[in-house]
Symmetry: C2
Amino acid sequence: MASIFTKIVNGEIPCYKIAEDENYLAFLDINPLEKGHTLVIPKKETDYIFEIEDDAFAGLHIFSKKVAKALHKAVPCKRIAMAVLGLEVPHAHIHLIPMNDLGATNFMKPKLKLPAAEMEEIAEKIRKAL
Amino acid sequence: MASIFTKIVNGEIPCYKIAEDENYLAFLDINPLEKGHTLVIPKKETDYIFEIEDDAFAGLHIFSKKVAKALHKAVPCKRIAMAVLGLEVPHAHIHLIPMNDLGATNFMKPKLKLPAAEMEEIAEKIRKAL
């Protein structure tokens, strides 16, 4: 069965899109730890990120770097944190999280629930900073 | 002033070394969140990871992937989590953390303090799995 992220890639499920190319896609996490929390995925579905071939693995990270720089311009924070866990959705994804303290990558924290209008506004700011 | 990690690269400060090549170095985090918690760094000192040039950034991640695979073989866990924060040491570093739950990348958690003999034993296991 296609992962929820493959459904997003295929346009079957909507997303707040940040950036896209032939191989990779970035969109806002619908359950963000911080405002601007973004996911970057390879379009080709692979569960465990360390199983991705070197070229695609490198490309995914370089794509993430571009998104991280835009995110840092668009959302006030000290830095952008990067995290990969992969226990919940079996489709490799990199979390980019605007960070102000060491709790930024604590996935046990309660998630934010932001109105759709605010999510769209955040996505638009990040897209403009790309 | 050289970062503490540059001092490790130069052999001025000892480490539990896991892997090394011309450009990158992996060693055990001395204050691990989990047993086997490993740091991967570029030998060339750069503070913010997203300022590293594409080639070196890609190489750092591919090197990390090799280390992560060995770590996963050597230390019982569900997966290896990857995290980059960078608020504490101004020399880019990737955390590779054996993960069993979503708290794996919570840097607010108390750190482990393991005896030197156990640290060396863990490092040796990971090196053998490379």
